[in-house]
Amino acid sequence: MKTSYLVASNRIDLDNVTISNNKTLQSTYVNCVIANDAPKKLDFLILVIETLQINATDTLLLKAKNIGLSDDFSSRVKFWKMRISNPLRTSYAFTSLTSDQVDSLVKLISSMAESLYPLIRQLLSSKESSTLNQERWFLFSSRLKSLIRERMNLQRSYITSLLNDDTNEIFRELLVTLSLSCGPGGSNRLKASLYRQS
C-alpha cells in the first residue's frame, strides 16, 4: 500500500520541532556576542519590508502581537527606539540591542519575509520579461531610496554610496537575505548571521 501526502508550502505545524530546536539553539549561542553590524542589518531589513508593503509598521506591530513578542513592540515609539540603535540613522541613540531584542526582531523579520515572499521572489526572478522586471526594480529602488533619504544620515559615506549606486547591488543583497530568512530555518540562519563567536 502506498500512501501519499502532499505538503503545502506554507505549513506551520512545526511547534513541537520549534521547541526542541530552541533548546539546542540556546546552547549554540552560549559563547557568542552580537555582531557590531547587527542593528544596521536588522534596521535595513525592516526598511526593505516597509518598501515592499505600505503601512508596514502597523502590520509589523500586529504581527509581533500575534506571535507573542515582548513589550518592545507594544507601540510605535518603543519599536522606533530599537531601530535607532542603527548608527547610520540621523537620530542615532548610541544604544545597543540586547540579545532578546535581536531574537524578537529576527522572529518578526522572518515572519514578515514569509508573508512577503511572493513579492520578494518576483523582484529576484530573472525569468520574467526584462521590461517588467526593470519597472519593478525602478519602483522598489526609488521607494527604498526615498525612505533612506528620509531616515538615514546622508553625510555617511555608506548612505551616499547606497543612494548613488545604480546597479542596486546592495538592495538585491538585502532582498536575498530577506528571502533566505523565511520560515524557521531562515530565522535560525538570520540569527546566526547576527552573532559572532567570541
Binding site: 501519499s4 501526502y5 533566505l180 530555518g185 531562515g186 546566526a192
Partner: protein
C-alpha cells in the same frame, strides 16, 4: 509494508521523498525513518535523483552556501568526495553535480536568486519536518568567528581603501618633511635678546 511519500513544493522547485517508518526505532506509521528514494525537480533543469547520501551532500552544500551568503561571504562550497559544489556565478549561483557513475558528465545548474531561495526553502521545510526521523548530516546554524568573517567577507576587501588612504597620508607627510622651514630669523632674534639681558646685568 507502508510506503510513504512526501512532497515539498516551492514555486520552481519540487522535492519528493519516499520511504518507510523504521519500526525498530519506534517510528509512527506516518514517519519516514528509512529513506528509499528522492527526486528534485527544478523547472527548466533535468530531474535529480539518487540515494540518501547524495541528498545529504546536496543539502549540506546548499545550506552551508546560504549560511555564508547571508553573512556576506561569497565563497565556493564543496561536499566531501567532490560530489556537489556550489559557487557564485555572476549574479547567479552555479550548482555542479558530479555523478558517481563512470562516464557521466557533471551536471551544471545555474540558479538565479529566486530559484536558489526556492531550493533553500524546500530544504528548510524538509529538515524541520517532524514526520522525518532521519539524522541529516547538516551543519547547525552556528555563528562564525569575527576572524573568519573578516578573512572571507567581500566587504573586507573594500576596507583596503583605508590602507591606501593611510599610505597616501604617510607619503604626503614625508614629502612635507623635505620642505625647508625658514626659522633662522627667529633664532637670531632670540640670540640678540639674550645679549641685551647680559649687558643690563653688567
Amino acid at each position: 509494508m507502508i510506503n510513504l511519500s512526501y512532497r515539498f513544493e516551492q514555486n520552481s522547485c519540487s522535492l519528493q521523498l519516499a520511504g518507510m517508518p523504521d519500526v525498530s526505532n519506534g517510528d509512527s506509521i506516518d514517519t519516514i525513518g528509512i529513506l528509499s528514494s528522492w527526486t528534485l525537480k527544478i523547472i527548466g533543469f533535468p530531474l535529480l535523483e539518487g540515494e540518501k547520501e547524495h541528498l545529504d551532500n546536496l543539502m549540506q552544500v546548499v545550506l552551508q552556501y546560504s549560511r555564508l551568503y547571508i553573512s556576506g561571504i561569497r565563497k565556493k562550497v564543496v561536499s566531501s568526495k567532490n560530489v556537489v559544489a556550489i559557487f557564485p556565478f555572476g549574479k547567479k549561483h552555479k550548482l555542479l553535480l558530479n555523478s558517481t557513475r563512470d562516464g557521466v558528465k557533471p551536471l551544471e545548474i545555474i540558479l538565479d536568486d529566486s530559484e536558489f531561495s526556492d531550493l533553500i526553502r524546500c530544504f528548510d521545510l524538509l529538515r524541520y519536518d517532524s514526520r522525518f526521523n532521519i539524522n541529516w548530516e547538516k551543519d547547525k546554524d552556528i555563528p562564525f568567528t569575527k576572524r573568519y568573517i573578516n578573512q572571507n567577507s567581500s566587504k573586507s576587501k573594500r576596507n583596503i581603501n583605508i590602507i591606501y588612504a593611510f599610505i597616501v597620508f604617510i607619503a604626503t607627510g614625508s614629502l612635507l618633511l623635505l620642505v625647508p622651514i625658514k626659522n633662522n630669523n627667529e633664532l637670531k632674534m632670540n640670540n640678540n635678546k639674550s645679549t641685551d639681558i647680559s649687558e643690563i646685568n653688567k
